[in-house]
Amino acid sequence: MEVSDLAVTFGSRRKQSRAIDGVSLEWRRGEVLGIVGESGCGKSTLARAMLGLQETSAGQVTLEGHEAGGKAAMRELRRRIQMIFQDPYQTLNPRQRVSAIVAEPLVVQGVDKSVHQEHITKALVDVGLDPATYLDRYPHQLSGGQRQRVAIAAALVLEPEGLICDEPVSMLDTSVRSQILTVLMDLQKRRNLALIFITHDLSLAWSLCDRIAVMYLGRVVEAGTAVDVIENPKHPYTEALVAAVPVPALGMGRARALLKGELPDATDLPGGCRFNPRCQKRFESCDRIDPVLADVGPREQRAACLLYDGADPSARSAGPAVTAGPGAGRDRAEQARGTNDG
């Protein structure tokens, strides 16, 4: 699946909020992709837009090169890519039995009725629930973890190729959380299912994702392999986000740079780089130039920060040598790092 220059705008013409502002992403077959960021950065909106659950104002979503516009294409997309949500208490219809909940996608997609039972049974077994016990239960008779398993079963009953998980475990307890993640990762391996984890929990992204994209105020500000981005973050925002994760190890203390303040209002974005008011490495051009993603590492690691060559869109169009000469960005990067380490 490919997303290019996607934008989602909320609000009236006079007070526009750009929830998604030009996001491009690739999601490969069988890949586990993490989309991380604070509440309000647009990660859930992005997921909804990818499935056509949210009207977009620009850009396109393609599945194997075919644009997902029009009713038929959208129907096809939603059969092949499914989604599960954060709150298993709100996503299941309280008046439907598990059997009806899991059957619903089959009904919607017009699958032949004679095979429903077989699909439902298989989906429940796949998520580790015994069909004999659970088929006739109502959601209120299930625990949080069991509900999330039912939600996953309903998402998998059509045997999709991709599953978008929006904070799938953030409301669950530690031991239930690892059970649900084990179910998901097990399915990922057995079915070569592509997964997207939308999360603010970088430690989860670290342990499960192949690649991650870090979002800030509707933009992807850094992307790359999970290992590169988390072990060696290039964007100051990613760095701060990694530092905010509590570490279950000793002797870490809390003496680290904390991200101050909250996300600015999306209707009133700061000029230049949208992270600059909270950035500890800002320098003079940060409030003038809006950076684009530039290559910053060998394995497709990219960051949208003026510390790096190629992030200044005007310099890029004019050719790299015109404004600063090669290496100037890197010098700045080193300078900034030097002042901050001390």
Binding site: T133, D173, T174, L204, S207
Partner: protein, 335 residues
């Protein structure tokens, strides 16, 4: 010196079934204790019992003694009546409720809500002093006093959580209990709120009980930890001891299942099953049905025993010299 808070053999029952079953711990001033465990393990019930705020139908017994600085006689919370508790709550011990962000009154301004708490619990404070204290409290929790003129819906989740902490501090208590104070917040807000709690503890010398299922949060903020399972404390000790040398299989498996940035990628085998049904508890050790190390002797209930200096565990086999390798059994299918 006596401890600030001493809890012994705390029990909470619902229709004869124990929800909290013989919990005991102590807290000295300026110390922070983490109460860890999954939903339903009794940690929130314990907090409510300490405040004598249990809902109808739940009855508590056991001794809870609080010795605020300067007090000659301890306050015996366990024996206090509702009327007697009203002068203790918020004055000496306060609670930041779970999901607190949503427990502010939506139709009253922030200032007014703090004002109410102060006046209700401290008679005869002048209007001017209350005003000053509100401004003070708001800046203590990192909010500009100007925000006091707003309504809760005009604040973000993180700001509302800070207001709740300000409310808990309004009458200068010596113990603050925070029940899942960061669970609804994202990592950035979580880090900010934890930093704030840490600062308050340092600067005001507050003793704190932090309740959460997130062990990583406890590792960063607490001096000591008590791990609860099915209404009992199954392990307690300093953070260092418990994290580096866990002595109960439950603690050990929970710690193993935590993802750690920079650590091994992938998933550790999860603990199978779920917590026991309080109406139908398993025979013997409550963790036995989920425990990969269980044997016949686990059919007897283990006591919480010392396994080291200031370190206790409720497992027949502790102290564990080493942890036998367990086969990843897989999750199987839930019946």
């Amino acid at each position: 010196m006596k401890n600030l808070l001493e809890v012994e053999d705390l029990r909470v029952e619902y229709r004869g079934r124990p929800i909290v079953d013989g919990v005991g711990f102590s807290l000295s001033s300026g110390e922070s204790l983490g109460l860890a465990g999954e939903s339903g393990c009794g940690k929130t019930t314990t907090a409510l019992a300490l405040m004598k705020l249990l809902p109808d139908g739940l009855s508590q017994s056991g001794s809870i003694e609080l010795r605020p600085e300067g007090a000659e006689e301890p306050i015996r919370i366990g024996k206090r009546t509702e009327v007697g508790m009203q002068v203790v709550r918020w004055r000496h011990i306060s609670l930041v409720f779970q999901g607190a962000m949503n427990s502010l009154d939506p139709v009253k301004k922030i200032d007014f809500q703090i004002d109410e708490v102060i006046r209700l619990h401290e008679k005869g404070v002048s209007g001017r002093e209350v005003k000053e204290r509100i401004a003070d409290l708001l800046s203590t929790v990192g909010l500009t006093p100007k925000l006091g003129t707003r309504y809760p819906h005009q604040l973000s989740g993180g700001q509302r959580q800070r207001v709740m902490i300000a409310l808990a501090l309004a009458c200068r208590p010596s113990v603050v209990i925070a029940d899942e104070p960061t669970t609804a917040l994202d990592v950035v807000m979580q880090a900010q709120v934890l930093e704030l709690l840490e600062k308050l503890r340092r600067e005001l010398g507050l003793a704190m009980i932090l309740i959460t299922h997130d062990l990583a949060v406890l590792a960063e903020t607490c001096d000591r930890i008590a791990v609860m399972y099915a209404g009992r404390i199954v392990e307690t000790g300093t953070i260092e001891d418990v994290f580096s040398n866990p002595q109960h299989p439950y603690t050990k498996l929970l710690l193993d299942s935590l993802p750690v940035i920079g650590g091994t990628r992938g998933l550790a085998p999860p603990i199978p099953g779920g917590p026991p049904d309080p109406g139908n508890p398993p025979e013997g050790c409550a963790f036995r049905p989920r425990c990969p190390y269980s044997e016949d002797r686990c059919l007897a209930v283990p006591d919480l025993r010392e396994v080291g200096k200031d370190h206790a565990a409720a497992c027949h086999f502790s102290p564990w010299a080493s942890w036998p390798k367990i086969e990843a059994a897989g999750l199987g299918v839930q019946k």
